[in-house]
Amino acid sequence: MRSSHSQSSGFGLKLAAGLGLAFLHLPILLIFVYAFTAEEKSFQWPPPGFTAKWFAVAWNRPDIWEALTLSVKVASIATAIALVLGTLAAAAVARTRFFGREVVSLLVILPIALPGIVTGIALRSAFSMGDIPFSFWTIILGHTTFCVVVVYNNAVARFRRISGSLIEASMDLGADGLQTFRHVILPNIATALLAGGMLAFALSFDEVIVTTFTAGQQSTLPIWMLEELIRPRQRPVTNVVAMVVVIVTFLPILAAYYMTRDADQIAGSGK
């Protein structure tokens, strides 16, 4: 887009956007502040004192590590499965016209369009009807269900943008279906899958509502946090964990942004 005078923003808009962003971030600042509070069980404003000891405390608490490990495992596997399912569905929907296309896109959107608690108790009652005991895999089952949609959305948008002639060009140059997938389709949807995968990971990593119903006795990080916040031993530890997660994910998010942005520009200029 060209920049010029008619394209510059008004002060009101700037203010509204700035205030909106501030609104999004003030509570996060507060989380950071209270990672250093000297209080232990419940918070007060202003904090009575500051200490950095909670980092050491958090580091040494095995339950955090257990919950973290479980969450990372769940999120990774759920994301991986969602990547496969979402990509397959997106490829089918974007590249072909077949009877029931609409049904597929509706099905994919459903788990996120219905409140999590519905998904949660639906799965839970299905487990109990089918006598399936809660396990690592029941959590995965729940998470994958709502992760598929983000992968699907990203992939479908990218598939639509890949010009159909790219695939024909590849075949024309001697590549069969699988080679075309490997050398042309995959590299071109990779960044979209990365973006979708990251979002899926984030969703899974922070999910409480569905997890509550499908986890049984296991605690993922958010479930651990819930227990911890309701019955705190050392509440600042939850803030430490939340803060560390934000800081640790900062760089990957930024990287993903630059990667997907470049890809969009190229894919967009393919005409």
Binding site: K41, Q44, Q217, L229, I230, R231, R233
Partner: protein
């Protein structure tokens, strides 16, 4: 189902549904640990699922997969009626004899002379208050949470009191009416006929105007006392002890109307997969050390009188402060049933839906 006749070897694992703070392994405070030693002794590794309300405990037990539950009186008989727990054999629990005589045959775990568990600890729903607001003078009546009035600091109690977010709280209202409206003829706050029940609900509806948020969970109540300017509320000794320990201006009292309370029973799931470990835990849970430690941690009264003396954490005054002598003044939680001594009473499920309505402003 017949109770176990002889004790075998431990199965190596045990899972318990319990109230928060009932089963501690020293993670919060190293001094409070009555699990590690048990695990070492028996090889039964303990896992705990905490529940916030009695209803949740019942739901968890219905769902299955647990061995034991520390059920309060409003859950225990439901579990028995639903055949979710099995009778126990006191002969396999050597410490059974040491249990407080007042509790040995308590109706909330005994049915037709058969025992469905071992008593754990008991306690009262005390009136917690802010000493600044009350100028050091303990309120004498539950009136401060039920009726609009000016508190000693000169301001209205409106928006500054709380009530428990559980249907069983209807009994607290009934208890208050027992003292203030004798003409209703309430004999037992858990056995209410239609009129008595309606009066209790009306009282609660009035209370809704005073209460900003009902307390559901102990820590949020603590937050509310600290940050929301709450001045008085029914509460557990647990919160009182915790806040006092942090130096908050908080104390508690037994008002003149009496209090409701809970006496908890360790009950054995009908499909328990680790019955031997479960029996070992029941025995362990009755040791004066455990009883005293739990009571010190949660602010309860032990079911084994021996724990009142000589426990380092609980101290020799613990039993007295937490109401050992007030046993008879406490109306222990029980599940209201339609069949009662008055003939026809309002059953619990109505309490559940009506209390949701009351909180919702109906």
């Amino acid at each position: 189902r017949e109770p176990l006749q002889s004790l075998g070897a431990g199965e190596g694992a045990l899972s318990i549904v319990s109230w928060a703070g009932y089963i501690e392994r020293g993670e919060t405070d190293k001094n409070f640990d009555w699990v590690t030693e048990f695990e070492k002794k028996t090889g039964c590794m303990v896992s705990v699922k905490t529940a916030a309300t009695s209803d949740e405990m019942v739901a968890l037990m219905n769902e299955g997969g647990f061995d034991l539950v520390t059920a309060s009186g409003d859950a225990s008989l439901r579990l028995v009626a639903g055949k979710r727990v099995q009778p126990i054999n006191p002969d396999l629990i050597p410490s059974w004899k040491t249990i407080d005589a007042r509790l040995q045959n308590a109706p909330w775990h005994t049915k037709d002379g058969v025992h469905y568990g071992t008593p754990y600890v008991w306690g009262a729903n005390v009136l917690m208050y802010n000493t600044d607001v009350f100028k050091g003078e303990a309120p004498t009546s539950w009136k401060v949470v039920f009726e609009e009035m000016h508190l000693p600091d000169g301001k209205s109690n409106k928006g500054r009191v709380q009530a428990y977010d559980g249907p069983i709280y209807v009994a607290d209202a009934a208890l208050y009416l027992m003292a203030h409206k004798p003409e209703l003829g309430i004999k037992d706050p858990y056995e209410l006929n239609e009129d008595q029940y309606k009066a209790a609900l009306d009282l609660l509806r009035g209370q809704r105007q005073l209460v900003g948020r009902y307390w559901h969970d102990a820590m949020i109540q603590i937050d509310d006392f600290k940050n929301e300017g709450v001045a008085a509320s029914g509460s557990w000794p647990f919160q009182v002890n915790l806040m006092k320990a942090e130096g908050a201006k908080i104390d508690s009292t037994f008002p003149e109307e009496g209090v409701t309370g809970w006496a908890d029973t360790t009950m054995l799931h009908v499909d328990s997969e680790h019955p031997n470990c479960a029996y070992m835990w029941m025995e362990h849970s009755l040791s004066p050390k455990v009883q005293g430690d739990v009571s010190a941690w949660f602010g309860t009264v032990p079911s084994v009188p021996a724990a009142c003396k000589g426990n380092a954490l609980y101290g020799d005054e613990g039993c007295k402060t937490n109401g050992y002598e007030n046993f008879d003044k406490i109306k222990f939680w029980r599940t209201p049933t339609s069949k009662c001594s008055q003939g026809e009473c309002v059953p619990y499920h109505r309490w559940v839906s009506d209390y949701i309505g009351v909180i919702g402003g109906r």
